[in-house]
């Protein structure tokens, strides 16, 4: 069992409050990813869990045991660092057995555990090498091996893939996913890369300015973000936001008017909205379609098109000079400055009130 519970955790450096009261439950076998922009406190949170930072207030429990004040080594956690932090003068074998030797385990136990970890990570031929004789991916695997041998309750990863090149990152990402499956371990993973967050996690924790914005499965977060920050943070390219005013609203739906005059009826519960209040419409690039200008919701002028082969991302300026990102098929061709019509998938749009909180979408009527 490895249930991690964090209660009202706060951490300040001097006057600067980095973590402003974090509450979080992590269940056994979960792969939890902390994601957020730089400086949001995700690494500090991880380091507080590891015991490398003293917390200012709050509690951390691992199962029923409080570990808030415990020394890092006694918390039953293992951490993989961004720089791998391998001991440079020790062989791979010694790197992996170091913790066990410090814990004074018997030679046979150490050897069998190291051999097992080496087998899992395919490090057997490298056991007698020094870290500097290894490639980036191999060092990464040694760092993971070093935490596996300790058989911790929770694995902590601090941006482990950010030092690898793109191809290797994809490969290590798959290996990590497999490792999580094979070890049936609880893993907490910090990253600023949303692809890693979306692909690896069972549960994503979006952090911003020391607070949790939303917790949920990757798809939950993608399809129903709780607020504008989460909506804008997840998804590549980013969701487009258009300011709008409410024309009429009730619990059946909301009618809004965009800055360029177009009015849209959204299947969003607008019971809390008032007429003429300011709202923000959020649309993902894949929910906008290029259509014939005469039968479109509104029109825009094509600014830049990025052709990626499989898709083309068009950046369109509306008549009120807002930028929309539109995902079109890879064979879409269009000229700079051309007027194009745009249609929205209204049931996939998000509406945020003047506090940037998402308004609940109405249950879609079964088609």
């Amino acid at each position: 069992m490895a249930d991690l519970t964090i209660k009202n955790l706060k951490k300040s450096f001097g006057d600067l409050e980095i973590l402003k009261g974090i509450n979080l439950n992590i269940k056994d076998h979960e792969f939890v990813v902390f994601v957020g922009p730089s400086g949001c406190g995700k690494s500090t949170l991880l380091r507080s869990i590891a015991g490398l930072e003293e917390v200012t207030s709050g509690h951390i429990y691992l199962d029923d045991r409080e570990i808030t004040e415990l020394a890092p080594a006694k918390r039953d956690l293992a951490m993989v660092f961004q720089s791998y932090a391998l001991y440079p003068h020790m062989s791979v074998r010694k790197n992996m057995s170091f913790a066990l030797e410090l814990a004074k385990e018997s030679k046979e136990t150490i050897n069998s555990k190291v051999a097992e970890a080496a087998r899992i990570l395919e490090l057997e031929p490298l056991l007698d090498r020094k870290p500097k004789e290894l490639s980036g991916g191999q060092r990464q695997r040694v760092a993971i091996g070093r935490s596996i041998v300790r058989q911790p309750k929770v694995f902590l990863f601090d941006e482990p893939l950010s030092n690898l090149d793109a191809a290797l990152r994809v490969q290590m990402r798959l290996e990590l996913a497999r490792l999580h499956h094979d070890l049936k371990a609880t893993m907490i993973y910090v990253t600023h890369d949303q692809v890693e967050a979306m692909t690896l996690a069972n549960k994503v924790v979006v952090l911003n300015q020391g607070q949790i914005e939303q917790v949920g499965s990757p798809m939950e977060l993608y399809h129903s973000p709780a607020n504008r920050f989460v909506a804008g943070f997840l998804g590549m390219p980013k969701m487009s936001f258009l300011p709008a005013t409410v024309v009429s609203s009730d619990h059946q739906g909301t009618r809004i008017q965009l800055a360029d005059g177009a009015t849209l009826a959204l299947p969003v519960n607008g019971a809390t909205l008032h007429k003429n209040s300011q709202v923000t419409l959020g649309v993902r690039p894949e929910n906008i379609h290029v259509s014939d200008p005469s039968e479109s919701d509104f029109t825009g002028r094509l600014d830049i098109a990025e052709n990626l082969g499989s898709d083309t991302y068009c950046y369109v300026k509306t008549s009120s000079n807002e930028t929309l990102t539109v995902r079109t098929p890879g064979n879409f061709t269009c000229n700079f400055g051309q007027q194009i019509g745009l249609s929205l998938e209204l049931d996939q749009c998000h509406l945020f009130d003047d506090q940037d909180q998402a308004l609940p979408r109405l249950e879609r009527i079964a088609a």
Partner: protein, 314 residues
């Protein structure tokens, strides 16, 4: 460390790439050889002329008190120097001096730099103060110690001894070699601190955190991470200090003058006394050559044994 190896690789590849241009690069190589030749020749002369003169002097009878009697005597000068009473004393003192100063500077250097590496108020000033003895001239250093600190009547140490009602010690007559070791250690400790302190700053923070998670206490951290990290700078300290300490002279000259008896005479001082106190240039030249050979043996061992084994660990 990583970037260093990368740099080396980059340099190597650029070197390898150069000769592919054929004739042009050959010409370039000849040109560059031509350009450096004056300095190489000058350095060669600088080294070869004094060396051959020393070898020549060591093989003839050459005493300034008996001019004109410069006949060839073979290895007689060497024989005299080695069987001289002062030779064994000089050898032992040289080794004792070098060994103990190295031990003191390395051990205290590591401890002090670990201490100074912790964050505290006034760190900058303390660091400058720690380094400053190194900027004091050896003669001045020795005089300060001789007249202000160790003097049996007016020295600070004597005052302390008297304060506790003890009999002040006449350091240079009771513990002459120890006094010299003390003075020289004081002079060279800053050098060790300087190198070790900067090395400590490059100790990887995440490695220490990883070790803490692995269950390493302060002692294990020091033994398994800090000390191996310092192996290279320690090797550098040992090598450089050995080179300078083998030829230690000013401190002995200004304080004890090699005495009492031969108690503080090292090889450098012995050679000086042969040449300029006994006016026997031939004998001093022979001594100088022996010292050169000894220094080379020491350097060989240091570079091969100490340097290599320590750097390989990294």
């Amino acid at each position: 460390m990583e970037t260093k190896t990368l740099d080396a690789g980059a340099i190597r590849t650029s070197k390898d790439a150069a000769p592919t241009t054929g004739g042009v690069s050959k010409q370039k190589a000849r040109m560059s050889r031509l350009m450096v030749s004056p300095s190489v020749l000058l350095l060669l002369l600088w080294m070869v002329v004094p060396l051959s003169m020393t070898i020549y002097f060591s093989l003839i009878r050459y005493n300034l008190l008996y001019p004109g009697e410069n006949e060839f005597v073979g290895l007689e000068n060497f024989h005299f120097f080695v069987t001289d009473l002062g030779f064994m004393a000089g050898m032992t003192n040289t080794l004792l001096l070098v060994g103990s100063v190295l031990l003191i500077t390395v051990v205290f250097g590591v401890l002090i730099s670990l201490l100074v590496n912790l964050a505290f108020w006034g760190q900058g000033i303390v660091r400058v103060l720690l380094i400053s003895p190194f900027f004091i001239m050896p003669t001045v250093n020795a005089l300060v110690w001789k007249n202000l600190l160790l003097h049996p009547v007016s020295g600070v140490f004597a005052a302390i001894w008297q304060f506790f009602g003890a009999q002040p010690i006449d350091w240079f007559s009771e513990f002459p070699l120890f006094s010299i070791i003390m003075i020289v250690s004081w002079q060279w400790l800053p050098f060790a601190i300087l190198l070790l302190m900067t090395a400590l700053q490059s100790l990887d923070q995440e490695q220490q955190e990883a070790a803490r998670l692995d269950g390493a206490g302060p002692w294990a951290l020091f033994w398994h991470l800090t000390l191996p990290h310092l192996a290279r700078p320690i090797a550098v300290v040992v090598m450089i200090e050995t080179i300078f300490l083998l030829s230690l002279f000013a401190e002995i000259f200004t304080t004890t003058g090699g005495g009492p008896g031969y108690e503080t005479t090292n090889l450098a001082y012995l050679i000086y006394s042969q040449a300029l106190l006994q006016f026997d240039v031939g004998l001093a030249s022979a001594g100088g050559l022996i010292a050169v050979i000894l220094a080379n043996i020491a350097a060989f061992f240091l570079v091969r044994v100490v340097g290599k084994s320590l750097t390989e660990k990294q």
